[in-house]
Symmetry: D2
Subunit: 344 residues, 4 copies
């Protein structure tokens, strides 16, 4: 058992089967193969409009290339202070945009608000060459804290973006988990809500290594195919990246995996909620559970189950649920935690 990350689990059996099936025969390389072609059509069907699809191999790549498409080198990108692009990508967004500025904002439960963005925008004067020019708002859906923007919350940010001439990026490394919580369609969760480009993650949801830049309004992305190549993200045997996404979208595997992981997180949260000394830090809306608990209980628990202390200052921990976790796993974890808490 491992609660450290949804990256800690391997690929789902359906993914492995798909890779094997995709291995037959010789096909054109670099994305000109039939499977990648089929995926392009499938994605447009899924999103209910013509989209431009660029499969890549890491989540950082999906985010950095999406931002490079939306933001000029003298632009500013507004994101939450705890957004993955700000804290965990070692400067990749700054590098691939050639110098854009990440403006990091606080916001409750890991989410941006129109008010917070509007307040910050006042410091960036339009047309003044000394100032990085406001260009993009980047939302993480689900957020780093496992919370999910409601459709209304996105609509509010989207209205501000439209009014201010900003583009909207969605970091959807856990897009499936957010969608499972929202219960709406991919189209409703993205372009119908004003999102321009989506980083669509499959790896954390049971794939082996498959992410995609989905350009929902393809007009401005003419350079992206070249930049993806120059940025070293054009897989030669692209069929294998495509095969993972095709498998994910078949029989709703992506939704089933996400729903399961969310359910396991909810089960875990429900189980620990009544354990004395344990407090849940954020609403549990996807597959992450953040909690505070006594240090000695935490340390003892970590000897049995790997997980991260998220914030050394507060001692808050993160428990991630994955597609491959069982109810028994969760119950065993909760029981052990309760036992340790009782023994204090």
């Amino acid at each position: 058992m491992n609660f450290s990350s949804d990256n800690a689990y391997g690929a789902a059996p359906e993914i492995l089967d798909a890779l094997t099936r995709a291995s037959t025969g010789a096909v054109p390389s670099y994305g000109d193969d039939p499977l990648t072609g089929a995926l392009r059509q499938e994605m447009s069907r899924l999103f209910e409009r013509e989209v431009a699809l660029y499969p890549v191999v890491t989540g950082t790549a999906a985010n950095a290339l999406a931002l490079a498409t939306l933001c000029p080198q003298h632009g500013a990108i507004f994101c939450h202070a705890d957004a993955h692009i700000a804290t965990d990508e070692c400067g990749a967004p700054e590098f691939y945009t050639h110098g854009a500025k990440l403006v990091t904002l606080e916001g409750r439960d890991g989410k941006l608000t129109p008010e917070g963005i509007a307040r910050s925008l006042k410091h960036f004067l339009r047309g003044v060459v000394h100032h990085s020019q406001p260009s993009v708002i980047s939302l993480t859906q689900a957020s780093e804290f496992g919370t999910v923007y409601t459709r209304d919350e996105i609509a509010g940010i989207s209205a501000l973006a439209r009014e201010q001439g900003l583009k909207l990026h969605m970091d959807g490394a856990r897009f499936a988990n957010a969608l499972a919580h929202l219960g709406c369609t991919p189209a409703e969760a993205t372009w119908k809500a004003g999102i321009d480009v989506l980083s669509f993650g499959a790896t954390k949801n049971g794939a082996m290594g498959a992410e995609a830049v989905v350009v929902l309004r393809p007009d401005g992305a003419a350079a992206l195919p070249f930049i993806r190549k120059q940025a070293m993200q054009l897989a030669s045997k692209m069929r294998y990246v495509a095969a993972q996404f095709v498998a994910m979208l078949s029989d709703d595997l992506w939704r089933r995996n996400a729903e399961h992981a969310n359910a396991m997180a909810a089960r875990l949260a429900a189980g620990v909620a009544d354990v004395p000394g344990v407090t849940l830090t954020y609403p549990v809306q996807s597959n992450a559970v953040f909690a505070g608990l006594p240090a000695e209980v935490r340390d003892a628990l970590q000897r049995d189950y790997p997980f991260y202390v998220w914030d050394e200052a507060t001692g808050v921990v993160r428990w991630m649920a994955s597609f491959d976790l069982t109810a028994d796993d969760v119950d065993g974890f909760v029981a052990r935690l309760a036992e340790l808490a009782a023994a204090r």
Copy 2:
């Protein structure tokens, strides 16, 4: 009269004379001329040690090249939220470092504190590749608000930097003004206090366009001559940049100009302090005066004297004094302000 910026005034007569004198004869270009050679020696004498000197043509250049020398592309630079490198250089530091992250911190009177930096450092785990690696602390001396770090304050930050393995950059666009306030030597204000690289500005202090990267501990800067060239900052007729600095250092022109500008700011601050409705925002320690005042007084005053409203939200204004401002200019300004305030 103009209180908007110390860039609004032209070059001092001594500078113009120096440029004319420097025009005689043919000399090697790109910095191999005798005047640039003499300046190199003069700078080492001024700083009481062997320094490496790279004259450049803009203040942004001095800062961005200094930071590029100190910070790897996966590094983090800690600076005040109101530092010029964070707010007024359109992403140049991010661009020239190829993706380093500017971590912007709050701090009273526009100054960083060791405590504030230490708190932020906790979020950047060493050796963890997902995190930009802490590399540089950048101090603005004098700060954007005209305040000056005391030698003790720098010593405190320097101790933290040493302990944490960080380099120290000083943005000295107004270094002369700070020095005039501190009353210490350039060596004491910089490398003796732990500063590794200084952006040494002359333009705001009465030059025409002359800035320099002064590498105080020259070991690690072997690439800088090439990077300066590639970064388009190697002036072909370098003698003219050197001539300005030579003139500045002759007869202590740089110190006299700075002392005068500081005195004019102090006179202005003293004059307005008792005007009803006017409050000084920060201690006046160099050539900047920040103040709050009634909106209608401010608007009327701007019709006679150009100056900036620094913060639209609070209405705080900035009045900059320059080397070329006279006591009569200041007194006239104060009188007009008093008159407008009385007429409310």
Copy 3:
């Protein structure tokens, strides 16, 4: 059948098995897993010395990151005019080095010579800031034309590199094919011959998507782990990249695949050599066969077998053999070509 590229074929069965086996259980992500750890040791064993290993996901990534490690932004990289880094990577080396210059040289059979490099070096004056500074020689082994540098040829270039203070990079996208031809050890083919960093390719040799930067003299590569992350090449489920290399090195799969592909190319070359109107363009030393043939024969043949016209001007074509091609495939191809040639 497909002779267009060794990327056109899928993954070998042993690779698919390895991916399935690697899927069991939860392990640390981002390369801290046991399999990646084992691969590190295995690579050091294979190369008979401590090496630093950085698995990545595309061949362009291995090359661009290797060059970024060896070459400063103001450096010059000497390579053959037909090298992959010069012709097929859309500027990735220039981008990741932040502006280094690729100096492209002619050379017989796609190979550089010490004389050719020495002649070009005369144009780049050391210490002159206007000139990109000579920094790296990049060899492609096997070359774009399928030829292989002899150990003596590499020794000659290596001697020049040492004398001139240049680093040596080897683009080994088809390293296994070159080694199969040379019949020497990996150590002899690389660091014992003076190579500093190797781009080690597995994808073209039957993997799904697995390349590696192998730093043979690890001293200068301290920044590479961070740069790999910032460059979006740190796979979260790294075990799957490692698993492919581990499988390749088990039971000498990599050598067997390469020997087979080479043998198929040799068989093809031998078969077509006597076909009237067909001339082999280069010595066939790995898995590529370049040939000239009548345009109408070529066009008819392309209707049955995909392959590239390599040079539109001369009409020269490329036939690539892969690990997955059978002797019957080759014989059928030769027979069809002979038939078309006879029918003219």
Copy 4:
């Protein structure tokens, strides 16, 4: 006397006067001053159309920013193998375009030909992401060898550019010298001949340090003001850069200076043409004279007059004439050369 470079001479007296005159009073900084405004109008008048003007401080800056405006990061720039952007800017074009490829072509007398460009273009397949995409042709006018493209030659290249969808850049570090030779208007020499962006140099022609990017078809350059700032080329006291250009354009100073320098070069060429052992390497059409001469004569001559050996392999030397050279200077030089040649 100095024949090494037109950068070796100082600023013309008219320039020094203009700087002094420009020093009066306080004006807005960063290019919002009246003098810069006037220069903008003057430039549009000079070029007989609305142009966008961006004064910068070095010639490398004018070139690199011009190319960054015209070329995407995945683009290819076609230039002569001896172009300044290829040989003397330490990779600045590659850096500022974020990875564009400089494709260097041979061509008689330092000039590109449509045929040579067309031949090279065949290697860059449009829409193929592996290939840098043909984007810009850069002409140096006058060329590094002092030769000047005729209007017909430019028309031929321009026709190719239009047909192939390429932009045209002119490196006019010595634009005035070329114009003086051609005897046509600036408009005829540039946009009427198809040039999109001109690097307009004044420094080598008697200014102190003043260059400009002149965007002749301003539609696509919306980002340039921001990029100029981010690229550290926005002078705070911009009036001083503008003043130099204004002085240059007043009373045709720029044309008079260039005509004089050209005349001095012609005089020198005529003088040395009959000296035994001296051969002129290129037609003398601007202010540069290239020649071959016996090594011992050259070495002796260099003891009296600084000049460069341009090519160590052939021994060819360069003698540059400047605005500040007199007929007596030239005659003295020729006499000394003749004396040394006679003494062999």
